[in-house]
């Protein structure tokens, strides 16, 4: 089973910000094509008068008191940063 014509793997991988190798590209397109083909059966279900469910038990308007809570120290918050200097995260230059 090959990928449906409308699954443009390059376009979707670009949206997802994932660089694919040529091998991954070919393999994922084929595997996701199979998955999408199996999902096609959902189109048989009549959902014309059905409301969507985002959460099984939706809770709305969840508020918290606007008071400061103890948080992480700067050192703790930055401990997992790949690169840091002077309490800042270092990133590649973004403006030429």
């Amino acid at each position: 089973m090959s990928a449906p014509a409308d699954l443009n793997i390059d376009h979707v991988a670009r949206l997802a910000r994932i660089a694919l190798t040529p091998g991954e590209r070919e393999q994922f397109a084929r595997q996701l094509g199979d998955v999408l083909a199996s999902i096609e059966q959902l189109k048989k279900v009549d959902v014309s008068s059905v409301e969507p469910t985002a959460h099984a038990f939706p809770v709305a308007n969840v508020w918290a008191e606007d008071v400061a809570q103890p948080g992480l120290t700067v050192e703790a918050a930055l401990r997992n940063a790949p690169a840091q200097r002077d309490h800042m995260i270092v990133v590649p230059k973004v403006v030429e």
Binding site: L7, I18, Q31, L32, I39, V45, F57, P82, V91, P92
Partner: protein, 487 residues
Amino acid sequence: MSAELHYKPIAELAALLDAKKISSVELTQAVVARTKALDGRVKAFNSYDEADALAQAAASDARRASGQARGALEGIPVGFKDVIAVTGQPLTASSRMLANFVSPYDATVTTRLKNAGAVCWGRLNLDEFAMGSSTENSAFHTTRNPWDLTCVPGGSSGGSAAALAAGEAIATLGSDTGGSIRQPAALCGVVGLKPTYGLVSRYGLIAFASSLDQIGPFTRTIEDAAIMLGAIAGHDGRDSTSFRADIPDYRTELTKRKGPWRLGIPKEYFGAGLDPEVAAAVEQAIAFYRAQGCEIKEVSLPQTEHGVGVYYIIATAECSSNLSRYDGIRYGHRAKEAKDLLDLYFQSRAEGFGAEVKRRIILGTYVLSSGYYDAYYLRAQKVRTLIRQDFLNAYREVDALLTPTAPTPAFKIGAKADPLAMYLCDIYTIGVNLAGLPGLSLPCGFSRSGLPIGLQIIGQPFKEAELLAIARTYEQAHDWKNRHPSL
């Protein structure tokens, strides 16, 4: 005695600790020794810190000696699926992306377990970011099934199930998005409970699919599951989907509720693809309940065939959003050779994520993308409504549902190379997550080749006390919990 401590349930160990017949240090030493002896073969753990665990145990013994014991888990070593945050411990999600991440804070469940006195034991392996049914998607190693080391333990919480079955922890925590607690519990012959969505806080759980994820315990007995659930359940202001539900004393409730119950058998769960030995074991369990005076009634969940499809749209859509945070900037893996910022995202994610995670992010991005949202995501959410309605309709006539947990016993490592074949492992567990219901798996027999078989009991929303009582009725009349793998 200490040679057997690692296979005793929490309830029994707590009594021994209370009576000062053992100390938490002795118990923790027994679990550490067992882990050191076996985990080279079982590979349930990603990491553990022996000195830290023994220090926690010594602190527990000191509290107990001074009359300041904290709660039901005082001195009990509990293992954590490596997606649940414990301050100062690694938090990897079994991914290269987080291979060096150390958690700066505690998950709410961790805080609650500490408040109950638990010793926070090691980090347990899983399918990367909880995406899989075998732990073969772990970036580090595949966990083995203690009953047959050539078989998978199930997944995604395979490390949590295997560690418990091997006696490398007294209880463990896992997370369940489409069956990731119940299926490995079934395959490893232990109890696994997935609570009602919203009963247990998700704060500090690495997010996979936020509308489906729920933390729950793995234990040797139903009573232990009640103890663990009592410790972790309850409203939390740090999780906006946390529900304000009354939390009963689940352990006391177990002895109060005796049935008989009205139990539904969903006919769609006994069709093609169900292994005959699994079917036979589950049918014997149904016969047991009938003999106890329960009313057994066939029910229909007509949308069952669409569960896997709906799940792989909704779960991947939510994961594509949740995992967008791994960009190589603030934490996690950062590619060394990127030529600019955009390339840093592309390369860090290409290097940090494994194949299944990439596939799911791409599928999720696709079903949410412009022009396809209505056809896939919105439609899936509507079919989700129908799936949920099926269950609610069934509960007009019955108190709970009895089904197999997984279609087959544990399969060989490497046997399901095709993603779609792997997805079908969750065919009986996925509906429970889509409908937000509580479900558990408990041992109900063994295959001829000696592999455990699990019975799934699906309960009504927030009625865990009843679900556990139904399960305990079966457990008390059978001896499966006293069988252990020969390792």
